[in-house]
């Protein structure tokens, strides 16, 4: 009965489906219903085996096979197969085997399961496909500026082939010409680039190209400098100069040669061969034999002129030297080496040899050449080392001198300044630490300098002591570091190195005056040397100006002792900041009370509560500064209370705030760079979504890109063939997918 009801509902469905166009027609509906009811009784129902509409989805209820109930047996099939002549024996055999076998096949997975598996596989594939965008997304996220629309077409004239797609070479003459052109791969069109060049351009990214260009530019510039220098030197008329030069070069060469013998015997052998060759040439020629025009004229003069005679003799000597079978380089040799020394390696101008035809920038030309370059510049390095050595020696002398001075001071201390100076010397180191950490509050530091200068004037003996203690600092404040020094250390730094250096230059020749007492540096310098880092913008105050200011301040505060007042004030503030001990002892509670009785120790221990010390004051290590740590409400409302998210520490955040970006403080280009917006859109341009092919290069496209711009008839046919095969392949793939 249930089945019948189902039938009914199906019928109704069919009715409603057919009725769609006409709308609701009650009469017809009723009629149909009656029919349906009639069909239910006893008689065999009319089969509905027609489809109302052509569609992909076919309901299983609407399809009826003609011969339902008749089973198709394998034997039926077999009979026909046996008769047909086309069927192979193999299939017949298989069918027979199948008939004989009794095993049942395994049940296929149910629909849900198979679908789930299919979905899983498809999902995996899609995720893999989507993941290829990862790099591009990252790149775009990190990009400082994105300009939309992304792929802007270059607005230049285009080639005919680019515009007209179906242009084809037709006449035999044209074909011949194009075959020739493309055979040699010569550029035909206006942008005169061979395909290889085009490829290389494509292969190279913009950054790489820029770097490469910069490299080449630099090399060229260097070359021009060297050339200019060589020219200048060549122009010098002084014979003596050249003589000296030549001599030096010869010496150098000899030295080099000696080294070469040790390090690079093959190279040395080659050099020797060269020398031999030059010797042979010299012997063959009459160059230095005093047989030339000049020599003859000199010979006439020689009787009377001493110098002429000398010159002739020199020539002969030269010949002798050159023809001597000795390991002495010839003149030509020198020249070649000199060139090597003075000009940039030649590879800069060399035509590039193609190693990797695809990407010329992957050749590593520079790195290739590097060993040669380094051996050429070895000289310079050496000289630099020598210089360094000299500097070191000077530095050592300086240090010794300092120590000596310090000793003297130790022996004669100034009484009254002693305690103050101790404080100060400690503090100075600390100040420098502090400055290292935070180079803000320039006003404060300015005040610092003035203050210190005043004090230094007051206590002349102190200065050197400071110098002794902070010798580590002095090392940091070598000549190179001087320009970048903090203004706090500047005054001393300026006067000191200048005097010792001149002294040291002389002192190198003679040993310094020895002191009897030896001072171990390790003992004196208990403190680690600390590098003084510079603030961003050291405020420069002229020496005279400073003196003037100092005098003004002195005058202004002539009457009162500002410094001691200041120190007192500071100590008072520090004391106020220290936590007081809370005394909760109750006298007389649990013991005898009375006047003059002290609570016992246990009680004091228990009931006197010490609060935790506050964090160290900010000005703890700054002697000349009082930093108020009270939070002022008016300022607090403008201050950031928490460290904002992307920043790791306060220093980072502060530095980000401290760098100004406005044009008041920066040049125009810097401002432009700093205020560059992250996203730029073009006015009135439609921003299309990215096209996958543009951004993700697949290997198949790169293979296709190698072809010529204009296709010849044959070529084209060949290409089409490949395309067809590719399509076939794709078709197969899709079939697989459908399975």
């Amino acid at each position: 009965m249930a089945a019948d009801e189902e039938e009914l509902s199906i019928n109704e469905q069919a009715i409603s489906a057919s009725e769609d166009e006409e709308g609701s027609d009650d009469e017809r509906k009723h009629k149909k219903l009656l029919e349906a009811i009639g069909s239910m009784g006893g008689r065999k129902r009319k089969k509905q085996n027609e489809r109302s509409e052509a569609s992909v989805q076919v309901s299983e209820y609407f399809v009826n096979a003609e011969g339902t109930g008749d089973k198709v047996n394998l034997s039926d099939l077999l009979g026909t197969v046996e008769k047909t002549s086309g069927a192979s024996n193999k299939t017949k055999k298989q069918l027979r085997n199948l008939q004989s076998s009794k095993e049942t096949l395994e049940l296929p997975l149910n629909k849900q399961q198979t679908e789930k598996i299919q979905r899983g596989i498809a999902y995996e594939k899609t995720t893999a496909e989507v993941s290829c965008w990862k790099n591009i997304i990252l790149q775009n996220q990190k990009a400082e500026q994105m300009v939309f629309p992304l792929n802007q077409e270059s607005s230049g004239p285009k080639r005919v082939e680019q515009v007209v797609a179906g242009w084809k070479v037709q006449t035999p003459l044209e074909q011949e010409i194009f075959r020739l052109l493309h055979g040699s791969r010569q550029p035909v069109n206006d942008p005169v680039l061979t395909p290889v060049e085009e490829q290389s351009l494509k292969a190279m990214s913009l950054e790489e190209a820029k770097i490469r260009r910069a490299e080449l530019q630099k090399a060229r510039a260097l070359q021009s400098y060297y050339e200019a220098k060589a020219k200048r030197e060549k122009k010098i008329k002084s014979k003596k100069y050249h003589k000296v030069q030549n001599k030096a070069k010869r010496k150098d060469f000899l030295k080099q040669f000696d080294e070469m013998v040790k390090t690079n015997p093959e190279g040395a052998l080659e050099e020797l061969k060269k020398m031999e060759l030059s010797r042979m040439e010299e012997r063959m020629s009459l160059k230095h034999q005093n047989s030339g025009k000049w020599a003859k004229s000199k010979a006439i003069m020689a009787k009377y002129d001493d110098s002429a005679r000398k010159a002739m003799q020199e020539q002969l000597q030269m010949n002798k030297d050159l023809t001597q079978k000795m390991v002495v380089p010839s003149d030509d040799e020198h020249e070649s080496i000199e060139e090597g020394l003075e000009t940039v390696p030649d590879f800069v101008n060399d035509p590039e040899t193609v190693i990797d035809p695809v990407n010329p920038w992957m050749r590593g030309q520079l790195t290739h050449e590097e060993p040669e370059v380094s051996c050429v510049t070895a000289e310079e390095v050496q000289t630099a080392e020598e210089e360094n050595e000299e500097e070191e020696i000077i530095g050592e002398f300086e240090r010794k001198r300092k120590l000596r001075q310090a000793d003297e001071e130790d022996l004669i201390p100034t009484e009254e300044e002693q305690p103050a100076s101790e404080v100060v010397e400690e503090d100075v180191v600390e100040v420098s630490d502090k400055e290292e950490e935070e180079d803000e509050e320039e006003d404060v530091s300015e005040f610092n300098t003035l203050f210190r200068l005043m004090r230094s004037e007051k206590t002349p003996g102190e200065e050197d002591e400071e110098g002794l203690l902070s010798e580590g600092q002095i090392r940091v404040r070598s000549i190179e570091d001087l320009e970048v020094l903090d203004e706090v250390v500047e005054p001393r730094a300026i006067e000191e190195p200048s005097a010792p250096q001149t002294a040291a230059a002389e002192a190198t020749s003679e040993p310094p005056h020895k002191k009897k007492r030896e001072i171990n540096l390790k003992e004196v310098l208990t403190k680690e040397a600390k590098a003084v880092r510079l603030p961003f913008l050291p405020t420069v105050v002229d020496e005279e100006e400073r003196d003037e200011q100092i005098s003004i301040i002195k005058e202004a505060f002539a009457g009162d002792d500002v410094i001691s007042d200041f120190i007192k004030d500071k100590s008072r503030q520090e004391a106020a900041g220290r936590p007081a001990v809370v005394d909760l002892t109750l006298p007389g509670w649990g013991e005898w009370g009375g006047v003059g009785l002290k609570p016992p120790r246990w009680k004091r221990k228990r009931f006197r509560i010490k609060t935790a010390p506050p964090p160290p004051r900010q000005d703890q290590k700054l002697p000349d500064v009082i930093i108020s740590e009270k939070r002022t409400a008016s300022v607090a409302s403008h201050q950031v209370s928490q460290l904002p998210f992307p920043f790791q520490n306060t220093a980072q955040f502060e530095s980000s705030i401290r760098t100004p970006i406005g044009s008041t403080w920066n040049t125009q280009t810097v401002v432009k760079n700093m205020t560059k917006p992250k996203v730029v859109t073009k006015l009135g341009a439609i921003i299309e979504p990215m096209v996958k092919e543009d951004f993700i290069k697949s290997k198949t496209t790169s293979a296709g890109g190698k072809g010529a711009a204009i296709m010849l008839g044959e070529n084209r046919r060949a290409k089409e063939g490949t395309k067809r095969s590719a399509e076939k392949h794709r078709g197969r793939r899709s079939q697989k997918r459908k399975k």
Partner: protein, 431 residues
Amino acid sequence: MKVKVLCRNPDDYVRETTRDIQRVPRNYDPTLHPFEVPREYTRALNATKLERVFAKPFVASLDGHRDGISCITKHAKSLSTIISGACDGEVKVWNLPRQECLRTVQAHEGFVRGICSRFCGTSFFTVGDDKTIKQWNWEAPGYGVREEPINTILGKAVFTGIDHHQREGTFVTCGQTVDIWDEQRSSPIRSFSWGVDSFSCVRYNPVETELLASCASDRSVVLYDTRESAPLRKVLPFMTNEITLCFSLYTYDIRHLDVPVTVHMDHVSAVLDVDYSPTGREFVSASFDKTIRIFPKDKGHSREVYHTKRMQHVICVRWSADNKYVLSGSDEMNIRLWKANASEKLGLLSAREKAATHYNKKLIEKFQHHPQVRRIARHRHLPGDILKQKRELREMREARRRKEQNVRKHSKPGSVPLLTEKEKHVVAVVE
């Protein structure tokens, strides 16, 4: 006798043309320009204030429909043209700069459920409640010629949404099933269904053009690949017995569907439509709470909220293809045009104006964490009822949180895990 003369090179102070600005010699010595941080802070504060002062996002309202707007689509090739479909089956083509209706078509009987433009911009498709898909020409017919579709496809069930492929002649519709159609055929080339849900919305991925996603009526989102025979995966938001209080948007990574990448919450009522900006950095959402909100794609809260007194439930929203405007269609028959950046000056800017705006933007960005700047930059006006709802929601959320905390306190440690906001919206991923 040598006479010293003051000599000035006119190149240093005379400008080349009268259009140039006067050359001002600058000295960048930092001692001459002290207090850079306070000065920049003041500038930043002023910039923020000005930004808020000039924040007038509403540009225009296009009226003419006689029923609520149900869908809006942009022209694929023209910035100035849009089409809108209304709940009475009327489709209108609008010209945005002139703010006028170019053409009116009675496209369907009943709702126009979806409109999509063909990628080439020559025709557009509409689907409606009358179970038809109609293709229309973008050009209006000549005078006296009846408006007739190029092509009509009769379907078996109501279509609720349509979207066109980015580069090929195929489109997708949804209704009882998700069907992929070829433009040349009258029957779908493929149809996907998963369970018996009906689908409310379907969209192609604009970049990975073979991927689709659809929203089903059982709160699930289903992914498809047009090259596959079966759908890929279904994501089902977590259902609690309580009324879901989160009227949020979720951003998912296709590859990791189990946890949303970001949960964007600010709306106080159901979200009806979303559209990404063409730069992909932000998206705009339309909500039943009568507001439009703009979210950065990776932030949990909106950066902007738009509303007007007369705007009712916003049903559809679109971001213009030049990233400058946002269009919204709402229940009370109006299409509204908004600026995507509320305080942006429209039109061409001179170089100096541009530089100034960039500088101001950068300043605001630099000092964005300072309380005063933040306070001003973040302030938005909201209508009273929405504000009330928002507070209510917040309270409810707070209460739930408190309850959870209490439960955690009174149960065995570890038995009630601490979940992040993202994890709370854990979904059932159906393979």
